[in-house]
């Protein structure tokens, strides 16, 4: 059967091109996602600053907890965990250790700053000048030899400069003062490479040192795992939908050939084998080529993510054969599933059909398909309900995509019934073209059904992907707009004390953004200076009060309170960004959690436990000009205050854009296949006197009908999905979709579909009609 399949394939290249392209794209997407995922799992960063120290002792960057099941779970900390400087003495006592160097690390004016004692870790050596001794002396790296540092005197320049960071060295004492973690250090370098075990810290060697040096690379790895997984899963489901669709369409076009095979003695089983064989052959070729293309796609994604700041440039992309192997296997499975599904239909083709003059089409929806369609509908309802109860982005995002896909699957399964119902509507387009279109739509509901599936998919996925972001952004922004009472927002770096002296200033609030973990779950936190808070922001307190807010107090958003099942006065144990445990009492519950964070804590509690204690400054009263004259102050627009999720959105757009592109390819694919297969019919129309214009008009009207139907269904799917998402995340069932964006989506879908009909139609109409009629099927 395989050799037979191969011969059929060779002959019917055009018919299989659609399925081939779909499988190829699927393989490419899966490979690219696999690369992201693998980089997330196994990617490493080469150490730069710690390159000279064979062993680095530093804090555990994870918070660990034993779950009830006894399984140890670990979550990445959002800030660096410091270790006591006293460990140095113990390490010195370990046999074999000859040299120990401590380091503090903190941000300073765009530099990564350290004390000069840690220069040996790299090692940094002086090219000119001398080491900093006094508190006001600094050494800068080779790239910044001419840089002025206000308030300090540059006394030396190093020979080296690190590729991914700008380095500045203070004197050891000044660095510790500026870093502000009294008695603690970020890392300890140990020479030579000996086995070191220290209570309260972890030992890092080789590339592990890079992970300590660049905590952002670690967090980006975690994100890559979830992004790669979600993207890969979504594209897999989309691929199966698309591939099943293209296979089914090509089977529809081969009914007669298959009926003939059945008549001359092919068992249904043999037909299924033939179709399965064809599918396997195409998928092997498409899988191999696609995974090759996928590696290029993965490299491109990496450059985009680096450009967007979602992935540090020094995080190595892992390029291994695994994603390609997975992609090829996945493509095989997808093709096999598609072949099984379409073979179910073809096995029902009765051999009698081969004898008739025209190919008959089955008009009744098979019972299995009807049941599957209804099950998918039920699945859509269940998922939408589930979605409406999910209030964290991590849980909500993948479920949102899944919900939209399950609804679309239902549409794909029930497509013929939907198409029949829609064409039964007493609508008519004017002219001969309109008349012909109406007739042929009614006669070919199965063809209409196979065309609306990719169009619906594209509309639903695009709207869902775009409007999930706008819904979140809009909700957060409106809460910020309603809740920020301050007249001015200053960028990080402004001195609150200086701002308070400006005439007319009534209240100043420093706002620090970080996150904490409660039972390993992550909660976004804003840490504020409580004094005069009611004049700079209104959190929309619904219970309790912010009066007397102190270092052991917390205010919590309504959604987070529900998630934690916590009420006023309850004590909450949390782990601060750097792994330090703390206990706070809930003093207030507020409504505006999207704009201001899940938790509000006191800045006094948090400031010592973050990498960068500078935050935005909210100012009530005072003149904008007077504020701007202060040193180190940048006055932001009010809008700048809402930073939640905007950088994230772009990454999502890039990643999910691939899914949209895949859907678009499926649209073009299906319409081109469906139009090209009608060459004979179009030629016949031409022979009996229909003009080219009338034929083109007929096709256009048919496609427009499909577009109208698909856009209506796709919009409905995304509205229902978004309503569920919005209900869970923002509390309101109304999603936010900018009308212009929506119109642009509709226009793009329509334009693509019309072009994908018009171009093949031109090709089909090019030969003289008589020749086209003579050509055999």
């Amino acid at each position: 059967m395989i050799s037979f399949a191969l011969k059929t394939l060779r002959h019917r290249k055009a018919g299989f091109a659609g399925a081939f392209v779909a499988l190829l794209c699927a393989a490419a997407l899966v490979t690219a996602c696999g690369m992201l995922l693998e980089t997330g799992l196994r990617g490493g960063v080469t150490p730069e600053r710690y390159a000279g120290a064979p062993v680095i002792v530093a804090g555990d960057q994870y918070v660990r907890q034993a779950k009830e099941s006894g399984k140890q779970k670990a979550k990445l900390l959002s800030e660096r965990r410091w270790i006591p400087a006293s460990l140095v003495e113990r390490i010195k006592g370990i046999p074999g250790v000859t040299k120990v160097v401590t380091e503090v690390s903190f941000p300073y004016a765009g530099f990564t700053a350290h004390g000069w004692e840690s220069a040996a870790l790299t090692p940094f050596t002086l090219a000119a000048g001398r080491a900093p001794k006094a508190a006001d002396e600094v050494v800068v790296d080779a790239r910044h030899a001419d840089q002025k540092i206000p308030g300090y005197q540059v006394v030396g320049v190093t020979r080296e400069a690190l590729p991914s960071q700008d380095t500045i060295f203070f004197s050891t004492g000044e660095a510790r003062r500026l870093a502000g973690h009294g008695g603690f250090v970020t890392a300890i370098g140990v020479w030579p490479r000996v086995d070191v075990t220290v209570q309260g810290a972890l030992v890092y060697t080789g590339d592990e040192r890079g992970a300590v040096e660049f905590p952002e690379a670690e967090s980006s790895r975690v994100k890559l795992v979830s992004l790669g997984g979600a993207l890969g899963g979504t594209s897999l489901l989309v691929a199966i939908l698309v591939v099943v669709g293209t296979f089914a369409l090509s089977m529809q076009q081969r009914r007669r050939e298959i009926a003939m095979l059945r008549a001359v003695g092919a068992m249904p089983r043999q037909v299924r084998k033939l179709i399965g064989g064809e599918a396997l052959l195409i998928s092997v070729v498409a899988g191999l080529l696609g995974s090759g293309a996928g590696i290029l796609l993965g490299l491109w994604l990496r450059t985009r993510f680096v450009a967007l700041g979602a992935m540090p440039a020094n995080l190595r992309l892992v390029v291994s054969p695994f994603p390609a192997i997975v992609a090829v296997v996945t493509t095989l499975v997808a093709a096999w599933v598609a072949a099984r599904v379409s073979a179910r239909r073809t096995a029902r083709i009765r051999p009698v059909e081969a004898l008739g003059e025209t190919a008959m089409t089955v008009s009744r929806l098979p019972r299995v398909r009807l049941v599957a369609g209804l099950l998918a509908l039920a699945g859509g309802v269940v998922l939408t309900v589930v979605l409406s109860s999910l209030s964290t982005e991590a849980a909500s995002s993948p479920v949102t995509m899944l919900t939209a896909l399950v609804w679309t699957t239902a549409v794909a399964l029930l497509g013929p019934a939907i198409a029949r119902a829609a064409t039964a509507l007493p609508l008519r387009a004017p002219g001969v073209g309109g008349y012909l279109a109406r007739k042929s739509l009614r006669a070919g509901t199965e063809r209409l059904a196979s065309v609306i599936v990719p169009l619906t998919l594209m509309t639903a996925m695009t709207c869902t992907i775009l409007f999930v972001q706008t819904t979140m952004g809009h909700a957060a922004q409106s809460e910020v707009n309603a809740g920020v009472r301050a007249d001015h927002v200053l960028a990080p770096g402004a001195s609150a004390a200086a701002v308070r002296t400006v005439p007319g200033v009534r209240a100043v609030t420093e706002v620090l953004r970080t996150s904490v973990r409660i039972d390993l779950e992550k909660y976004e936190v804003q840490a504020v200076t409580p004094d005069g808070l009611d004049r700079t922001m209104d959190l929309g307190v619904v219970a309790g009060s912010l009066n007397g807010f102190g270092d052991t107090s917390a205010a919590i958003s309504r959604t987070a309170a529900e998630r934690l099942d916590a009420g006023l006065g309850d004590r909450v144990d949390l782990v601060l960004g750097d792994g330090t445990p703390a206990t706070v009492r809930i003093a207030a519950i507020y409504a505006r959690g999207l704009g201001f964070g899940d938790l509000t804590l006191s800045r006094g509690l948090v400031a010592g436990h973050v990498d960068d204690p500078r935050g935005t400054v909210l100012v009530s009263g005072g003149e904008r000009e007077a504020l701007r004259r202060l040193p180190g102050v940048t006055v932001l627009d009010q809008a700048g205050a809402a930073q939640a999720g905007t950088a994230n959105a772009e990454v999502t757009y890039v990643a999910m854009g691939l899914i949209i592109a895949f859907c678009a390819i499926a649209v073009v694919n299906t319409l081109a296949m469906s139009t090209l297969a009608r060459s004979r019919e179009l030629a016949l129309l031409r022979v009996v006197g229909t003009t080219r214009r009338q034929v083109a008009r007929m096709l256009r009207t048919e496609t427009l009908t499909a577009i109208a139907l698909a856009v209506a269904i796709g919009t409905a799917i995304s509205l229902v999905t978004l309503a569920g998402f919005s209900r869970g995340m923002t509390g309101s069932v109304l999603p936010y979709a900018p009308p212009l964006t929506y119109l642009a989506v509709v226009a793009a879908v329509a334009g693509l579909a019309l072009a994908a009909t018009a171009i093949p139609a031109r090709l089909a109409l090019r030969p003289r009609p008589a020749d086209a009629l003579g050509a055999r099927e």
Binding site: F4, K7, T8, L9, R10, H11, R12, R256, E257, M260, L261, R262, A263, V264, G265, A266, M267, P268, Q270, R350, P351, V352, A354, L355, E357, R776, E777
Partner: protein, 244 residues
């Protein structure tokens, strides 16, 4: 003389209830082995249904069909497929061939589907008889309509079936080409002893047969042996008149 095909009180009703249409009504007939039978009748007379039921492509609503000694009653689709594969050859009006396969591959397709060995000598004889000797490596698209029907005929003969069924096998051909194909069918009966049953509406085609069965309204209304084109045409005209 034994019978290759035997139909006993075969009826076929399409649809159900109010909209039920009887395509065949209590048809009983035997087709003797080694004869050429043409089935004629106006449109809607049931001649296609007759062919489908006789060839095991369709299952009668009532009555029984025997094909070369095998009773088709109660056979499931797999058993019917197996039967078609071994005991029946088909020549359709058009679209007979798999476009991706060569002439030889098309001819041996039923054997391949059955997993049977190809008898080279017999294959060569069949190919030679239908006059395709030098075209065995061509693909269907490279052949004329008449040549394609010859390939279909060769495919029908290669399994040495009990009966070859033709459904308007010359319907899509011009007069000259049609005559060649009909002559080949005739030779298959005369020289090889093959049984052939052919549905046609063309009196000239029917005149190649030994016997012509006339169907009207789902019943066999007449049979004619030693037909000529004129006699068949005249009989058809009256059949048509009865329909009014």
């Amino acid at each position: 003389m034994t019978e290759a095909v035997r139909l006993d009180a075969v009826s076929k009703v399409y649809g159900g209830g109010q909209s039920a249409v009887a395509a065949l009504r209590e048809v009983s007939v035997g087709i003797p082995r080694g004869t050429f039978t043409a089935v004629m009748g106006p449109s809607g007379s049931g001649k296609s249904t007759f062919l489908h039921c006789a060839a095991g492509l369709d299952v009668p609503s009532s009555g029984s069909v025997r094909l070369g000694g095998a009773d088709l009653t109660g056979m499931d689709e797999n058993a019917l497929t197996e039967l078609r594969r071994r005991r029946v050859g088909f020549v359709f009006q058009a679209f007979n061939l798999v476009p991706g396969l060569t002439v030889t591959e098309n001819i041996t397709l039923p054997l391949k589907l059955a997993g049977a060995r190809v008898d080279r000598a017999w294959l060569d004889e069949v190919v030679h008889r239908v006059g395709l000797g030098r075209r065995t490596d061509h693909r269907p698209a490279q052949l004329s309509g008449g040549q394609q029907q010859r390939v279909a005929l060769a495919r029908a003969l290669v399994t040495r079936p009990e009966v070859v069924f033709g459904d308007e096998p010359t319907g899509a051909l011009d007069t000259m080409t049609a005559r060649d194909v009909l002559t080949l069918l005739r030779e298959a009966v005369s020289a090889l002893g093959q049984t052939v049953v052919m549905v046609t509406h063309d009196p000239v085609a029917a005149s190649y047969a030994d016997t012509v069965l006339f169907l009207a309204d789902g019943r066999i209304v007449d049979a004619m042996t030693g037909p000529t084109a004129e006699k068949v045409a005249e009989r058809m005209t009256r059949l048509g008149a009865w329909k009014r």
